[in-house]
C-alpha cells in the first residue's frame, strides 16, 4: 500500500500541498484529480521521490520511502505529465538505457522492449530519433519505460495525453489489467470521463488541500450529483465557466 501521511510541500514558505493524507491500495486504481495549480503534480513528484515533502511522510508497504529509496525505485513505474525524453536517442536506445539503469538482464530486457514496441505500434520506428516522434509516440515510449520492469506501483500523470483513440483504449484496459494483477495504480488526469471509467476511488485536491477521498459511487450518493464532472465542479471549480466563456467571446468581438 502507498500511504501519504499529512504531507505538505512549501515553496519559499508558501504551501503548494497542504496536509494531504490518502492511501492507494493494491488492486485498486486511485484517480487523483485537481484543477491547475492545485498541487497535483507536486504530490506526484513527492510520491516518485523527485522532491522531498516539507512535512509529513510517504509510506510504501508501511515504510517511509526515504528510508530505502533504492528498493522503492525498483518497484516504481512512472509516466510523467510532460513527455521529456532524451531526444537524441531512438525509442529502442532509450528503453535499452532504462533497462540497463534498472539492471534488467540483457536478454530478458530486449525481449520485453521488442514486445512493448510491437504492442504499442512503435516497432517500425524504433530506430528513428525521438526528436521526430509525435506527442502520442513519446507518450507510448514513456509508458513502455514505466512498465519495462514490471513495477508494483504505477504512477501515471496524464497518461492519455496525445494518444490516439486506439492506444487510449488499450491503455484504459491495461490500467484495469494492472490493477487486477494486484498492482497499485495512481492515476492523475484532467479527463474526468476517463477517470470515472477507470478509477476505483478518487482523491480530489483543491488549492493544495484534500477535498474528497472516496469511491465514486459513495461520492455520488454523498453529494447527490450525477457524475464525477459535477462533483469535481462543485468541489474544485470556483469560476463561473459559462460567464468566463462569454466574456472571452465578448472581448475578441469588441
Amino acid at each position: 500500500m502507498l500511504e501519504l501521511r499529512r504531507v505538505s510541500k512549501h515553496y519559499s514558505g508558501i504551501p503548494a500541498v497542504d496536509d494531504v493524507s490518502f492511501c492507494a491500495r493494491p488492486g485498486e486504481v486511485t484517480g487523483y484529480l485537481g484543477p491547475n495549480g492545485s498541487g497535483k503534480s507536486t504530490t506526484i513528484k513527492m510520491i516518485t521521490g523527485l522532491i522531498d515533502p516539507t512535512f509529513g511522510e510517504i509510506l510504501f508497504r508501511g515504510k517511509p520511502i526515504q528510508d530505502a529509496p533504492i528498493t522503492y525505485k525498483e518497484r516504481l513505474g512512472y509516466v510523467p505529465e510532460e513527455p521529456y525524453l532524451y531526444n537524441h536517442l531512438s525509442a529502442a536506445e532509450y528503453l535499452t538505457m532504462v533497462a540497463q539503469l534498472r539492471g534488467l538482464p540483457t536478454r530478458e530486457s530486449s525481449k520485453r522492449i521488442d514486445g512493448l514496441l510491437r504492442l504499442l505500434a512503435l516497432y517500425d520506428d524504433r530506430h528513428a530519433s525521438i526528436s521526430g516522434y509525435s506527442k502520442g509516440m513519446r507518450q507510448k515510449v514513456l509508458i513502455a519505460a514505466a512498465l519495462l520492469h514490471n513495477p508494483e506501483l504505477v504512477v501515471l500523470d496524464e497518461p492519455f495525453s496525445g494518444l490516439d483513440v486506439g492506444s487510449a483504449l488499450i491503455l484504459r484496459s491495461l490500467i484495469h489489467e494492472l490493477a487486477a494483477r494486484g498492482k497499485i495504480v495512481l492515476f492523475s488526469s484532467h479527463e474526468l470521463d476517463t477517470v470515472e471509467r477507470v478509477s476505483t476511488r478518487v482523491v480530489i485536491l483543491h488549492r493544495g488541500k484534500l477535498v474528497a477521498d472516496d469511491s465514486i459511487v459513495k461520492l455520488r450518493s454523498l453529494t447527490e450529483l450525477p457524475s464525477l464532472e459535477a462533483i469535481f465542479s462543485q468541489l474544485a471549480v470556483e469560476q463561473d465557466t459559462q460567464g468566463a466563456a462569454q466574456q472571452i467571446a465578448d472581448l475578441i468581438h469588441a
Partner: protein, 570 residues
C-alpha cells in the same frame, strides 16, 4: 546609427534581433542567456589578442629593414590566419542557424512575412557578428601595423588596405561555408543532407583549426619566392589575402602578383556562389523543409553497440557516446578539443618524420603526447558538464537503483574510454616510428599513468553523470577554468617530457618516476572512491533562492500558529 536602424522596416528589425540572439547557441557555451554579455566577452578576448599583437609590434629591438619587413609579414600572415580561423569558428558554431530551419519555417510561414525579409535579416545578423569579430580583432593592431609599415604619411592608404583585406578574408571564409552548406542542401536529397551536415560541420571545425596550427609562415622574400613553397602559396587562401594586402599597399614583389590575383578571383567566386546558394536555398529549401517528414527512419544495421563493463557502466558510456555524436552542441565542443589534440599530434608527427630513421623517442614527441592527453581528458571532462536535456533527467533519478559510487565509477570509465583511450591509441601508433621499441613501450606506460591521474584528478568532487548534470549559467566559467588548466598542464607536460627523456635511459630513475605516479594515482583514486561512498548524485544545481526572509516572522498570525502546533502535536 540607432536612428538609422529604426528607419528600417519593423519586420526586418524584429527578425534581425531574433536571429542575432540565435547566431550563437548560448547553451553550448555555458554562459547566461544574455547575448550582449556573450558578445562582449567574445569581443573582449579578440581585443586582448589585438592589443597583445600591437604591443609585440611596438616593443621590439632595433632591427634592420629586412628584419622589420620579415616581422611585419609574419604578423600579417598571423593576423590573416587568425581572422580566418575566428570567422571559420563563427560559421561552424552558427552552422544550423545560417539557413532557415523547420522552426523558422513553421513559425514564420503562416505569418505575413516575405522570404526576402527573412533572408536579409539572417544575412544582417551574421554580418553583424562578423563585423564585430573583424573590428575587435584588429582594433589595436589595425592602427599600429599600418603605422609601422608606412609611417604617418602612408597611414591612411595602408590602414584602408589592411581593413579591406581583413574584411575580405573574413567574408571569403564565411562565404565558403555558406556556399558549401547551401549547395549541399540543394544538391543532396534533404534526408541525406541532414545526415551529411553534421559530418561537414565537424570536418570544417577540424579543418579550420588544423590549418591554423599547421600552416607554416613564409615571412622572408626568399621563402616566398622559393620553388618548393609555390604550391603552398597557390593553395592556401591565407597567403592569397596576405598577397592581396601587400598588393594594395604596394609592397608585393611583382613575381607574387599571381597569388594576389587568386584572392580576387576567390573572393569573386565565393561571393557569387554564396549569394546564389543563399537565394536558391531560400526559394527551394524552405519548401523542402516544410515537406520534410518529422520522423526520419534510423539507418538500418548500425544499432549494435558493444557492452562496456557492467550494465550501468555500459548505459553511461553508450549514453555519452551518443550524446557526443548526435548533439550539435556537444559535437562542436568535442570537435574543438579534438582539433587541438589532432593539431598537436600532426605537428609532432611532422617534426619527427623530418628526423631520419631509426630514431629514438624525441622530447617533442613525449611532450606532445602528454599535452594531447591533458587536452583530451580535461576537454572531455568540461564537455561532460554541458547538460543535454535537463528536463529529461527525471528518468535517471527515478531509475537510480544503484549506489552513487557505481554511477561515479561509470563516469570515470566513460572519461577513460572517450578521452584517455583515443589519445593513448594515437600515441601507440606514433610510437611505432621510434626505435628501440622498448623505449616507446616505457613511454606508453608512463602516459597511461599520467592519463589515469588526469582522469582521477578531474573527477575530484564530481557526483554527476555525464551530460545529465545542470550548472548555474555563468557560474562555471568553464572557458576560463579550461584555459587555466591547459596552461598549467602544458607547463607540467613540458617539464615531465624533459624529465622523462632523461629517465628513459636510466632504469632506476624511470622506476622511481613510475612509483611516484602509481602512488599519486592510487591516492587520488582512493580519495575519490571513499568520497563517492557518501556522495549523493547531483542533477541540478539550484540557484540560491531569490526570496530572502528578513527574520520578521517571529510573530505569526494566531490561526497559523494553531495549525502548525496541530501538525507538531500529531
Amino acid at each position: 546609427m540607432r536612428k538609422l536602424f529604426e528607419r528600417l522596416p519593423l519586420q526586418f528589425r524584429v527578425l534581425y534581433r531574433q536571429f542575432l540572439l540565435r547566431v550563437v547557441d548560448l547553451e553550448a557555451l555555458s554562459i547566461e542567456a544574455d547575448i550582449p554579455r556573450f558578445l562582449g566577452q567574445f569581443a573582449g578576448v579578440l581585443i586582448m589578442f589585438s592589443v597583445i599583437q600591437a604591443l609585440v609590434l611596438l616593443i621590439h629591438p632595433i632591427m634592420t629593414p629586412a628584419e622589420t619587413l620579415s616581422m611585419l609579414w609574419h604578423s600579417e600572415q598571423l593576423l590573416i590566419a587568425t581572422i580566418m580561423l575566428v570567422t571559420g569558428l563563427i560559421a561552424v558554431v552558427a552552422w544550423d542557424n545560417i539557413f532557415p530551419d523547420k522552426r523558422d519555417v513553421m513559425v514564420l510561414g503562416p505569418l505575413p512575412v516575405r522570404p526576402r525579409v527573412i533572408l536579409l535579416a539572417k544575412v544582417a545578423a551574421s554580418g553583424a557578428v562578423l563585423a564585430l569579430a573583424v573590428f575587435s580583432l584588429n582594433i589595436a593592431v589595425g592602427i599600429v601595423l599600418p603605422l609601422i609599415q608606412g609611417g604617418l604619411l602612408r597611414f591612411v592608404p595602408n590602414a584602408l588596405a589592411y581593413w579591406f583585406t581583413m574584411t575580405a578574408a573574413s567574408a571569403f571564409i564565411y562565404g565558403s561555408v555558406l556556399a558549401l552548406q547551401g549547395f549541399g542542401a540543394l544538391l543532396l536529397p534533404r534526408k541525406m543532407f541532414l545526415r551529411v551536415s553534421g559530418v561537414l560541420q565537424f570536418g570544417s571545425f577540424i579543418f579550420f583549426l588544423g590549418a591554423y596550427f599547421l600552416l607554416p609562415y613564409l615571412a622572408t622574400p626568399a621563402a616566398l619566392t622559393a620553388a618548393e613553397d609555390q604550391k603552398l602559396l597557390g593553395w592556401s587562401p591565407s597567403f592569397w589575402f596576405f598577397a592581396m594586402f601587400n598588393q594594395l599597399n604596394g609592397t608585393l614583389p611583382t613575381s607574387l602578383n599571381w597569388v594576389a590575383e587568386r584572392a580576387w578571383i576567390g573572393l569573386g567566386v565565393v561571393g557569387i556562389t554564396a549569394a546564389a546558394a543563399l537565394l536558391l536555398c531560400y526559394l527551394r529549401t524552405m519548401k523542402k523543409t516544410v515537406e520534410e517528414p518529422d520522423l526520419v527512419p534510423g539507418v538500418r544495421g548500425l544499432h549494435w553497440m558493444p557492452r562496456f563493463g557492467s550494465l550501468l557502466q555500459s548505459a553511461v558510456v553508450v549514453f555519452s557516446i551518443r550524446s557526443l555524436a548526435r548533439s550539435k552542441h556537444h559535437r562542436v565542443a568535442y570537435a574543438f578539443y579534438l582539433a587541438i589534440v589532432i593539431a598537436i599530434g600532426f605537428s609532432a608527427l611532422k617534426h619527427l618524420l623530418a628526423i631520419p630513421a631509426p630514431r629514438p623517442p624525441t622530447t617533442d614527441y613525449l611532450i606532445a603526447t602528454f599535452m594531447m592527453m591533458s587536452v583530451a581528458v580535461i576537454g572531455l571532462r568540461s564537455i561532460f558538464s554541458l547538460p543535454i536535456s535537463l528536463r529529461a533527467n527525471w528518468v535517471l533519478r527515478t531509475t537510480q537503483i544503484s549506489p552513487p559510487e557505481r554511477y561515479i565509477s561509470a563516469t570515470r570509465w566513460a572519461l577513460i574510454l572517450l578521452g584517455f583511450f583515443p589519445v593513448w591509441l594515437c600515441a601507440a601508433l606514433m610510437s611505432l616510428c621510434f626505435r628501440p621499441i622498448s623505449l616507446s613501450a616505457a613511454h606508453l606506460i608512463l602516459l597511461t599513468l599520467v592519463g589515469l591521474i588526469l582522469a582521477d584528478l578531474s573527477l575530484i568532487g564530481v557526483s554527476k553523470i555525464p551530460f545529465a548534470c545542470s550548472y548555474l549559467p555563468g557560474k562555471t566559467n568553464i572557458q576560463y577554468v579550461f584555459w587555466f588548466f591547459i596552461l598549467a598542464l602544458s607547463s607540467i607536460a613540458i617539464y615531465l617530457g624533459r624529465y622523462e627523456q632523461r629517465t628513459l635511459h636510466d632504469r632506476a630513475r624511470y622506476l622511481e618516476l613510475i612509483g611516484i605516479l602509481v602512488a599519486l594515482d592510487l591516492g587520488v583514486w582512493a580519495f575519490n572512491r571513499v568520497r563517492a561512498k557518501s556522495a549523493t548524485l547531483s542533477f541540478e544545481e539550484l540557484p540560491v533562492e531569490v526570496i530572502t526572509t528578513l527574520g520578521l516572522n517571529v510573530v505569526r498570525p494566531h490561526t497559523q500558529m494553531v495549525a502548525t502546533e496541530e501538525v507538531h502535536l500529531s
